[in-house]
Symmetry: C6
Subunit: 265 residues, 6 copies
């Protein structure tokens, strides 16, 4: 049955995909000022938690459209802190579990944190942790109530905790009173053409004279993740993607357009 199926699955839990480095498959490119400021604010909060007596608990919500780079930013803040206890709560590591099992896992992670002096907990893709779906709408109130309480629960004397949440559904979390449960809220934008040009140029995958044409095809605003996937798809064919990234070959414009049309969203 299911439990048996899960046990065989277990070894993968919390491993592989949930490590912080996996969150930055394409590395961190320069996407402009607004992305940079999020990293700065995040690191300021890291500092405050460490040094302030009156705020042993701080919480920060990183929100923005799908693929805008939220998870990569949260991971980067955590990696750049020197905190010994860093944990990611994500739906990926709780596939198929019951609501109450998920609550148990989440509560356990917070309890563990209360035993270590300096802690960061990332709640990645909160709408997914909440099992949210627009139709209904439906979600796990059990998990929601758990998060509402844990995000505000002050750790015991001498323990410090920074909670970083990510979501692409700010408005919904707001309706759940979950946004105001965080102290700070930071918005991650999609890229505008100026930002995209910077990324494309730095990747050096187009012939210089093609960059404008390529941009001309694309929508006004685009999330960084989608742009990088598109480049990757278009770089296939010919001598292969490595030839393109290695500078030996350039992306064919027509192929770029075709790939763009096949993208799901």
């Amino acid at each position: 049955d299911f439990l048996q199926a899960l046990q065989e699955v277990k070894p993968a839990f919390g491993a592989a995909t949930s490590t912080l480095e996996m969150c930055r498959l394409y590395g961190m490119l320069d996407c402009g000022l607004r992305h940079r400021r999020i990293l700065e604010t995040g690191l300021a909060l890291v500092e405050q938690v460490k040094s302030s007596e009156r705020t042993p608990l701080l919480s920060c919500l990183i929100e923005g459209p799908s693929g805008s780079g939220k998870t990569a930013l949260a991971a980067t803040i955590a990696l750049d802190s020197d905190f010994p206890f860093i944990k990611v709560v994500s739906a990926e590591s709780m596939v198929g579990l019951s609501e109450s099992s998920k609550c148990g896992i989440i509560a356990k992670i917070f309890e563990d944190a209360y035993r270590s002096p300096l802690n960061i907990i990332i709640l990645d893709d909160i709408e997914r942790i909440l099992e949210f779906v627009h139709i209904g709408p439906r979600f796990s109130n059990l998990i929601l109530q758990t998060l509402l309480v844990l995000v505000k629960r002050v750790p015991p004397k001498g323990r410090k905790l920074l909670v970083i949440g990510t979501t692409s559904m700010r408005e919904i979390l707001d309706n759940m009173d979950l946004v105001s449960a965080f102290n700070v809220s930071l918005h991650v934008p999609t890229l505008d053409h100026e930002d995209m040009r910077r990324v494309l140029v730095s990747l050096n995958v187009f012939a210089p004279e093609d960059v404008d044409a390529a941009l001309g095809v694309l929508e006004e605003k685009m999330p960084i993740k989608k742009l990088l996937m598109l480049v990757e798809m278009a770089a296939q064919g010919g001598e292969g993607a490595e030839a393109v990234y290695g500078g030996k070959e350039r992306i064919n414009l027509q192929r770029f357009v075709d790939c763009y049309n096949d993208l799901a969203s």
Copy 2:
């Protein structure tokens, strides 16, 4: 009870009907350019998953009206790849199971894939896997959340995975944020009269002078599966279908019309 009933049923699980060949009962006929391009794009994704370092996971949604050929196309892409691990997740092999058992089975298939280097997983008829029904609407949020996560979960280092989904309810999957969970989305059309003529002529079941009359009876657009079922029904009677397909006999026009009227949709 039910569990006992299931155990007797088990031997048939994953057998017979769920093999890829069974998905193409009528073979693959030439239905025009648009069907062909889907196969090409599918095979390009097969290539990219195999060769690209940055996209160990790719996902592709094949969507179109009921009977348009989605499952046959997905099966063909999988059969034409040379990937050693190919699995079909379909409601057919999970009849009567509880939501959580289904989640367990699905999660297990993905976990198995993470242990093999090159993998294809077909999620056939996603609305059926989700137990979706318009009235309500109702569906299994447990299974939906499982799919939302698994379709985006990057396999561990060195493993490659192509996920192919099929659905005839794109809009509903979109409301569930499931379409944008796929990287690529491909539309399978119904046949227009030009496409149908090509199919009917190549089947050679009508007297040449009857083809136009036959087409004249039919609606503007028709899915390939319905057209082939109609031909099969109309070929009955007389000396039998084999006589018709063998070229010894032709389909009677009046019988063709009668059968057309009895079709359920």
Copy 3:
């Protein structure tokens, strides 16, 4: 408790009322062309399943208002085939069982069929199998999903299966995508006055001069089952129904009208 209560009840399961002959308590009278054509089409499908290689599975929905003769027609098609495996799935034989037990029983019947060469499965009164009720509406999605899959699941190589469904709620089944899961859909009409006259005359229960007066009382359209029940009720009294059917006595018109007014629907 309930399970114990059920065990005592078990011996009656699948017995008595669920035999095909019991579905035709009043025999099969001539109700006009439209009823006849349904029997013909049904038998043509029986032939096609038997002989065609490409359609090892065919399915046919017999739909029409309450009491129009659907079950009797399905039973007659099955009885007139020479198929060795004929099973009826009906709510009658699953009274009080849980949704999942019902699914188990239904799945078991299909699995059994996959082991026999020629099979007919009748899904009688699908709305009742689905536990449908307008208020809500409510129904068993578990059973619905089971039917949606089983009606389309192709039996293994060498096995043939004809599925015959009956329902008096076509529109609702359509909203559930269940109508289009069937290959063929046949409508059973209520009787008009011409049809009723034929039935009444052939029963010979009225004085010839009373037939028109009797018809004059009745609504425009009436299902065969209601008409036969009305005749039976009106034939009571006096020397008894046998005297009337035996031709010794005639139905009294006033009593006919009184009985008509008491009918529930």
Copy 4:
């Protein structure tokens, strides 16, 4: 816990209040033609079930406003038949049981009937058996589906069954397709002033000159049960009700009016 509580309660099950005589606490008075005709029709159905070959099953719904006399009428028909097996299904004897236990009990009563040649089953207050409440509305679909099937299930060869249902919510049962599951439907009216006068006169509890005044106070239509309760309340005081019924004393008009105002509905 609850089960233990129930066990202590058990001895009262099916006893005392559920016997047929208890349904006629005030006896059967003459309330006019319409009540009488219901008894006649009921007894005609008793005859038909006994003698007809084609209708081994008949069912009859007695419906009318609260307190109109439905249960007393059903009990009287059953008592006046000479059938050996008479069972009452009522919510009273299933207080606090789960839906599935209730279904088990109901199914058991029908199964028992299938073993006896001549049977009457009274389904008293069907809305209560169904646990119906307007708010929502809510009801037990499990029990509803059980009734929908059992009321139409033909008993095995040689067994005869008359099902009598009562309800004060005809419209709701109609929305549940339960009215048309019965063969016959009979309406029990409230009393008009003519009927009430007959009852009051025959009870002889008012001074002859007070009858008109008493009627003048009352609403246009009133159910028999409410009228009899009102008389009983008004007869209290003074020398006591026995003095009134015994003819020694008369009901005081002012007290009659006061009691009338206190009645709950």
Copy 5:
């Protein structure tokens, strides 16, 4: 867990707060004619149950706004009867129990009553017993159905039962068909200024010249319980409430107004 928690709690069940005297913490003051008539009618029903043969069961609903004195009135009727078996069904004594446990307890109390000759059962605050809340609305249909049946179930031969219900949500109980399940319905009003003056004067807590001023502050209508609480709060301070009630001190008007503004409803 919960069950263990409950066991420790048990000793308090049915004790302390649920005794009838506890329902009249402020005693019974004269609040005017309308309150008095309720006591009289209640005692008349006590008499009728005892003496009448035809009404072994009587039921009476005492309904009115929150704090109007319903529970105290019901308790007084019961205390003034000489019935040996008096039981209170109230949510207080069933805190935290499951719906079915509550049904079990309620059914048990009625079954116990059926073994004693003369019985009174008080169903206090029926909306609370039903776990009713306006949002939804939600309530326990299991408990509702139990009450609907028990309030109408006639006790066995020789047993007499008076059921007294109280509620501040008459309309809602009416929508549940629960009001008409009672024979008699009595309305408890809030006090008007005339009634309040009588209460204040008889309590003698204001300087005579302050009574009018005090009344002038208050709303038009006020329930007795709220008025008495207000007096009690205002009597605090200074030498203490006992000094006020004892006539040594008077309530300060300004303090009276302040307290009035703090009252929750």
Copy 6:
């Protein structure tokens, strides 16, 4: 599983964060008259419970916007009483428990109180205890019904109990009939600019000439908790918060504005 996870968690239950002192991390500053009067009224209720015979139970709801100081006020009242039994019921100490476990814990706390002469129970953040969420809306009716009863249940003879509830959703609690279950209701306001100035001046974290500029940036009304968090964040950087509070450094106005913009609500 979850239960095991909980057991490891247990040591933290009721400890650390739930102590009353933890509720006042920033101490109690002077925020103006309205906050002060709440403390006075609270202490008057403490007195009344202790001395009055007629009100062994009093209850008081402290309600106001998020962060307005409700919990700190409730804690202060409790700390300033000399009652031996003070318990806090809060969602924090019941994370992830089932509804019925929570009810058990709550009921247990009240039962314990009934054994001690003088008791205060704080129900902190009632909407959170009720697991309330606007979407739906959803909440635990089981817990609601428990509170509705416990808040009104009079303790046994000789026991005194003051119940203090806090909530930022007065209207919702009112719809649940929970506000009127309390005797007294006190509103905690947000601070206006006058109040804020007093707080900022007394904290002495701005250069005197900057206070007006700082106020000019802020919204009209602000809860005390948000203001204190903002000051704390802005005090970071430079020589550190201690330098600012210690008077060695002043808050930089620009940094103050930046922090203000990052605040989540």
